[in-house]
């Protein structure tokens, strides 16, 4: 199956938040009653009941006001930290490139949440992890993700990665004339072998609070590639040695009793 990506063109986003509603609707997620924080922005983070939200940033510069909207959600990394650290192998990649969690295998251990460079996965009641699954149920039935389907301005596009990249590059050339810092975020050459949700940003990643070069923490690699293999080998080695010792002691004890002239254990203590 071809790799399918979501291209989010923040220059076209009007923060209507139809994507938030469509996501809640399709995934049957309840609304969250949150505190008003003095901003038009509804949510400040993902949660087990909120897979996506529109971040809203304002800028005043030389008597000009400008809005920067960015739909936040799981990035669906190719080299995903959550897949690497999940001890139950509950998180995997679909053929089209979405990072999904197996409900039955998930134990709610929270490791994915600790290692995600974007802080996306959230655990419900210490039981199960919830996050955007790139509408893998819809996509496997040849439908677009709910947010892409509902987006009125065409800010959310979904399709084969090549086509999405082409559209993004064409759009970037236009946008850079007005926003000189505009850039694409999530290309294969940038980090984590590319993310299957990638952006056209109007400002540098730091402006949105995004890591410039997100990476899988070193500790995750040490854990997975060194400590976990050691955890299999060492106990097997110890148990094997104990079994060999028990066997050899029996063999040598039999030999000793056959040849009574051999001095037994504990004979010479002053040597």
């Amino acid at each position: 199956m071809t790799r399918l990506s979501k291209f989010i063109d923040t220059s076209k986003c009007t923060a209507c938040r139809g994507c938030q509603t469509a996501c809640k609707s399709w995934n049957e997620l309840p609304a969250e009653i949150l505190e008003f924080k003095g901003s038009l922005q509804t949510h400040t983070d993902t949660s087990p009941d909120t897979f996506t939200y529109v971040q809203m940033l304002e800028r005043f510069e030389s008597a000009q006001h400008d809005w920067f909207f960015m739909k936040r959600q799981c990035m669906h990394c190719t080299d995903a930290a959550c897949i690497k650290v999940c001890p139950e192998k509950a998180i995997s990649r679909t053929e089209s490139g979405a990072v999904v969690r197996d409900y039955d295998k998930c134990m709610g251990c929270n490791y994915c949440a600790q290692y995600c460079p974007f802080g996306i996965p959230k655990i419900k009641d210490d039981k199960k992890m919830f996050k955007c699954h790139l509408c893998s149920d819809r996509v496997s039935n040849n439908l677009k993700p709910a947010c892409a389907k509902t987006c009125a301005t065409g800010a959310i596009q979904f399709g084969p990665r090549d086509e999405m990249l082409k559209a993004a590059q064409d759009r970037l050339a236009v946008i850079q004339k007005k926003y000189t810092n505009a850039n694409l975020y999530g290309l294969d050459s940038q980090f984590l072998d590319g993310t299957n949700v990638f952006y056209l940003l109007l400002e540098k990643p730091e402006f949105y609070g995004l890591p410039e070069k997100p990476e899988i923490p070193t500790s995750a690699g040490v854990w997975k590639d060194v400590i976990q293999p050691l955890g299999k080998l060492l106990p097997i080695g110890v148990i094997g040695t104990i079994a060999a010792s028990a066997f050899m002691n029996r063999v040598n004890a039999v030999k000793g009793s056959e040849n009574k002239s051999v001095k037994g254990k504990g004979g010479d203590i002053n040597g």
């Binding site: 001890p87 134990m107 929270n110 490791y111 210490d126 060492l234 028990a246 004890a253």
Partner: protein, 222 residues
Amino acid sequence: MGKTKKKSGEWIQRFGKAAIIAHWVHAAAFFTLAATGLVIFAPSFSFLAAVFGGMQGVRLVHRVMAVLFIIAPVVSLMANPKGFKTWWKDITTWGRNETDFLKAFPKELFGYHVEMPPQSQFNAGEKINSLLQLFGCTMLALTGLVIWFKQFFPVGLVQWALPLHDLFFIINFCAALGHVYMACGLPSTRHAINGMLSGYVKEDWVKHHYPLWLKQMKEERN
């Protein structure tokens, strides 16, 4: 310690009541922690979750046992600081006898007759196990507390606490397997279990395995 007692032949006290109680509480906590930890550590042990009534039960038991695991050695230290000091002094003393012991040990382990160099109250292997457990358990407790109360610690610290918790579990668990085998299974050393049950071990056995300790006790008595 060092008193003798008539049973069948001379018996010598190796451990006091406080040390014995602390040891078994700590051991019970250790193996329950291992069983509950394995549920997450190795997917092939996931079935153990059912024993504790699911993941919520596993979480609760792991935390309750963690408290016992930390309290047991601390209480025993406070109950008998002198005994703790004697133990600490012995396990941190290392010389030629200890090095030679480790060289000769593989032969003894596989049941061949070998002259072992004379040992003090604890032999070189016991010294290594003591130090490993002391350091490893401290690290398990510290990393465990970071993971338990992760909201109070920077995410980078939690990210290192998780693999280190696993690492020290692996090391301590393997050391514990060897420890149990030598205390209860290996013919030449299995008399040692008596020291952790009644507190007393046979003088004959001490003469053979820990002659320096016997010498030291005699000197102290004179």
